[in-house]
Symmetry: C2
Subunit: 462 residues, 2 copies
């Protein structure tokens, strides 16, 4: 019945119902998963509308899915339902170089936008480490960040308007250029719980004239963290300020031979972009600050190839973990820059307590930590230890005045953590906003909101 | 009864009920007005909560008010109710120079933030022409712009989080730094219809090392508009690109002796900021483009005094209108930069048709027109002609693919125009969002939403 209706609407080749197909769509990059009732591959906004209407009539939840690289289970169907894959809605619909904007379908791969914009001297700024794979739709759902968000902001700062299919299958549009309520920002980061994004106007930026990349090593993460704070206090906001601890740097070097020193306590990658004329002055100042804080080595990439090599190490950090552990769990929390060393010490202690190896790679400029805990999925004790350590790291971030997600979203994994950073009244307000868009809780249910804080269960505040 | 309850809660000196007091709060800078039931001057968030609770129990609407400089009647009590003046909540609560942010009460005057931040080398970027008077609360309510928004964005880009009193008198908080729905952007520009902002975290920016201001005159607005488009097409986004037509330039020169040539068809004021080392190159390029497009004169301000004089003319444009007309009506619409000359011609024709003098001053870089129509309030025929021309200008902007407000908000004046830029479904979605926060429509009623599009009257889309 469901199958036939979907096939009638979209055609047989756009509907997947075989167990082996469903199995593929049961997981994203989070540990848990479960199978959907059906998977559809719409080719247009009309197709998406039709699917949402059928889902509504059949009482099926909807789970939108980009590339499935999300780490928090946001694209996992927890209660079955229809997974909408945007693999076929992967076109750049318009690229308006004069107005520096593009309209793209949700399935467009992040890096594809910059590739298409490059001939016009433009690029799309948000660059999650998954950018070769992850899609604009998924980036919008999670308000994705990336190393360059230090200077350019996260996805929400680059979305100009959205076309959205609502819970009834009707289309509505938002735009930051029009008066009235600006719902664009509320939709970015809403993880598919308010509507299904079917196209997005995104901002393109002028490619900088000059880009430089430097690498400094430090005896320990404290001195490297102090250097990070001092660079920003000096009024320089580099386009990226990325740090790795010793464990991570050694794993990366073993995997990529990026030229990272393997005996350092911390490796700091700094990138800055702007006018060529300014670059020597920036280089001198950043080098001076790094050495003042005890940098033991200092390198400036002198060619595009050297820049790419330094970045390849950073961007491949997650991949390099395969060399030191069968599995890893990546946590994503934020603290103030000034409390970075404290947070890193706490993470180290947590790992020691649970007898796990931890490697750290993180957006130091943003105070956005990404501890990776090594474990073996086939060892249930280690799985348990990893889940508990992940929670302990969340608690640590909250205790330091930080928050439970930097850029990966909340999804299924962290939803109960929302009660730690929002008051009951704040969550009730959000739940009522969700009610406006999705009173029946069929759009990506079991995500973002804590268990028990779904609107029906929130008491009115009268 | 209402009076006594308000006095019990806030003290007698914080409650105004005399007809002469109420008369003062009957108007903002829009033409129409009507008297409130009471005016209160809270000193704290708790005071605001108390007032909202009393208003709720007494069935009184709430109208928040900053400095009353709004042009669209947003602060006017249309159906009576309690006006909350933020004149006493005018403190900067925190200024965190290291993190470049400040927490301010809504009654803080816009320019006061930059004054307080200046010793730290910081400033608050949004700068409406009313900045010496208008408040952060009013700026947040209308998502205020200003000349420098071309480069820095509008108020929404500078608000990091809000403390809000909801319709029940309860406090909730929003933050762009936390996961979950980002409601900050929806609240900015909501004109008091979603809640009463009682404090705001705002972004401070590093003051630029160098600022230059140039003035070019052109034979007509077409050639000046072409120069504007060419500057931006060349990859330069100046911090401001302001234009005046001949009528406006002459009025300003007569009032301020700013040194504006009085025989030009159009005057273009260009400001750019950045590093001193880059400024000569920018100056050469902008001058070259201006002359290429027929600039007849070119001046570079060579001192702070000269820069201030050129800006004083622009910022005092509205005041200068007093020299050529007893009253003026200022319209605020946006079109694409490329259609600016078309829009200006249409405005000219509308003025001719209604036998009104029009002077134009506008944010040319943003395509944000501000035609000022001269009239005499004591002549009912002219009043009627001005209202009709204002609507005709709105229609022109819409016909050119533009929109009905650039930075002044919708308020009471333009609410029916919302149906021209939003679909019924879009407005219904907004109305349902409003329902979340204000189901009884007591928070600034009769504003922002078109007559008849209040939620109760919007049919469900089932």
């Amino acid at each position: 019945m469901l199958a036939q209706r979907l096939i009638d609407a979209l055609g047989a080749d756009a509907v997947k119902m075989q167990p082996e197909d469903l199995a593929v769509y049961s997981f994203d990059a989070y540990t848990d998963g479960s199978a959907p009732s059906a998977v559809v591959l719409p080719a247009s906004t009309n197709d998406v509308s039709a699917v949402v209407k059928i889902a509504r009539e059949c009482g099926e939840p909807i789970v939108p899915r980009g590339a499935g690289t999300g780490l928090c289970g946001g694209a996992v169907p927890i209660e079955g339902g229809i997974v909408i894959s945007f693999a076929r809605m992967n076109r750049i619909l318009e690229l308006d170089a004069a107005r520096r904007r593009a309209r793209v379908q949700p399935g467009v791969v992040n890096l594809g936008v910059s590739t298409a914009a490059a001939p016009f001297g433009l690029f799309y700024a948000p660059d999650p480490s998954s950018q070769k794979t992850s899609t604009i739709g998924g980036n919008v759902a999670t308000n994705a960040g990336g190393p360059h968000c230090l200077s350019y902001g996260t996805t929400v700062n680059h979305v100009l308007g959205l076309e959205v299919v609502d819970e009834h299958g009707e289309v509505f549009k938002t735009s930051i250029d029009r008066p009235g309520y600006d719902l664009t920002a509320a939709l970015v980061g809403s993880e598919g719980t308010l509507g299904i994004v079917t196209s997005a106007w995104i901002r393109l930026m002028k490619a900088p004239e000059a880009v430089r990349v430097w690498l400094a090593t430090f005896p320990d993460v404290e001195s490297a963290s102090d250097a990070v704070s001092s660079i920003i206090a000096a009024g320089i906001v580099p386009t990226a300020l990325e740090m790795m601890d010793a464990v991570m740097a050694r794993a990366v070097e073993a995997a990529f031979h990026a030229g990272y020193p393997t005996d350092a306590g911390a490796v700091l990658l700094v990138e800055h972009a702007g006018f060529e004329d300014d670059m020597d002055a920036y280089e001198r100042e950043i080098e001076r600050i790094a050495k003042e804080h005890g940098a033991t080595t200092w390198r400036a990439a002198r060619s595009q190839a050297e820049r790419d090599a330094l970045w390849a190490g950073r961007k491949g950090a997650a991949g390099a973990m395969g060399r030191i552990s069968p599995n890893y769990y990546l946590q994503d929390v934020c603290v103030r820059r000034s409390t970075l060393p404290k947070a890193l010490h706490a993470v180290e202690e947590i790992a020691r307590e649970y007898k796990l190896t931890v490697a750290n790679v993180f957006h130091a400029g943003d105070g956005n930590l990404h501890p990776m805990l090594c474990y073996d999925k086939s060892n249930p004790k280690e799985v348990q230890a990893v889940v508990e350590s992940g929670n302990a790291i969340l608690e640590t971030a909250i205790a330091l005045g930080g928050t439970i997600s930097g850029e990966h979203g909340i999804g299924y994994e962290k939803r109960d953590g929302m009660t730690r950073v929002y008051s009951t009244n704040d969550l009730a307000t959000m739940a009522r906003v969700r009610d406006v868009f999705d009173p029946q809780r069929r759009l990506n249910p079991e995500k973002l909101f804590p268990t028990g804080a779904q609107c029906a269960e929130v008491k009115p505040i009268v």
